[in-house]
């Protein structure tokens, strides 16, 4: 379906009435707006992100477990598994999903002084 008839029948007389276009003026050639760049940005935000916690020799194991339980609402055994993964492998992915909540999780973890980063899932 084309939008041109509507443009020609409705918009052009209106514009002529407002701007006082001469009758012999060429039809307007205003094109439809492009939103290509904005769409790309939204897609970038929709890409899954992950919240990663990194090993830190200072933070106590019991403290890290408590933080995981509080921030993510994980049961103790799951929080403990993640803590051990951080301890043995140096890092653990605690959560993945949309960017905005991931940022909030990282902020909360920093509030507890854990080393946490936001990473894009490739």
């Amino acid at each position: 379906m084309s939008v041109e008839p509507l443009w020609g029948e409705v918009a052009e007389p209106l514009i002529r009435g407002i701007i006082v276009l001469p009758n012999n003026a060429a039809p307007s050639t205003i094109g439809a707006p492009t939103i290509e760049e904005e769409t790309r940005e939204e897609e970038a935000l929709d890409v899954p992100w992950q919240v990663v916690v990194h090993n830190d020799p200072v933070n106590l194991m019991s403290y890290v477990i408590m933080v995981f339980q509080r921030v993510f609402g994980y049961p103790r055994d799951k929080a403990e598994r993640h803590m051990l993964e951080v301890h043995h492998k140096g890092r653990s992915i605690l959560w993945s999903g949309m960017r905005e909540p991931a940022e909030l999780y990282v902020q909360q973890l920093h509030g507890y002084l854990l080393l946490a980063t936001l990473e894009k899932v490739y």
Binding site: P57, V58, N59, L60, S62, Y63, M66, E103, V106, Q107, H110, G111, Y112, L113, L115, A116, T117, L118, E119, K120
Partner: protein, 163 residues
């Protein structure tokens, strides 16, 4: 030193002057002034990548909030520690009572202090895990003892929170 839970308080009693002084040093130990490495650790980067725009936004909007959070925790602890103020000669057998509603502030301030001391002294993981370290013979040994003592307090507070 004895530590136990009494109703809505954590009570640390039989505090000798040395341990009382270590407790009084918590807020000062958490101070990062003049220690860029400690500042960098406390306010660590939110990404490992090169998202410069996000990192500058983080510095602008998130870090001030974190700074306030850490400062409030340190102030709460400093307030509780005023119980230990007074005649230095009477520090023996002092008792410190921490309201359980201040437990989170204590956990946070103790963690700040432990992290800052560890960064300032560049303690290795081996050193931090050596709980059978020889008696204090240097400033560095004292700092390591301080980190472990604060860790012990954290462990106790955590246990009480779980109950």
């Amino acid at each position: 030193m004895e530590i136990c839970r009494r109703k809505n308080q954590i009570e640390i009693s039989e505090l000798d002057p040395f341990l009382a002084e270590l407790l009084r040093q918590i807020p000062a130990s958490a101070n990062r002034e003049g220690a860029p490495a400690a500042e960098e650790r406390i306010f660590s980067a939110p990404t490992n990548g090169s998202e410069t725009e996000f990192r500058s936004e983080w510095r602008m909007y998130v870090e001030p909030e974190l700074r306030r959070l850490f400062q409030t925790a340190a102030q709460t602890v400093a307030g509780d520690l005023e119980q230990l103020n007074g005649n230095e000669k009477n520090l023996a057998n002092r008792t410190l009572r921490i309201p359980t509603k201040h437990a989170d502030a204590w956990l946070n301030a103790l963690n700040q202090a432990r992290l800052v001391i560890a960064v300032k002294n560049s303690f290795t993981e081996t050193e931090l895990n050596d709980h059978l370290h020889s008696p204090i013979g240097s400033r560095r040994d004292l700092s390591l003892f301080q980190v472990n003592f604060y860790g012990f307090l954290q462990e106790f507070i955590l246990r009480e929170l779980e109950c």
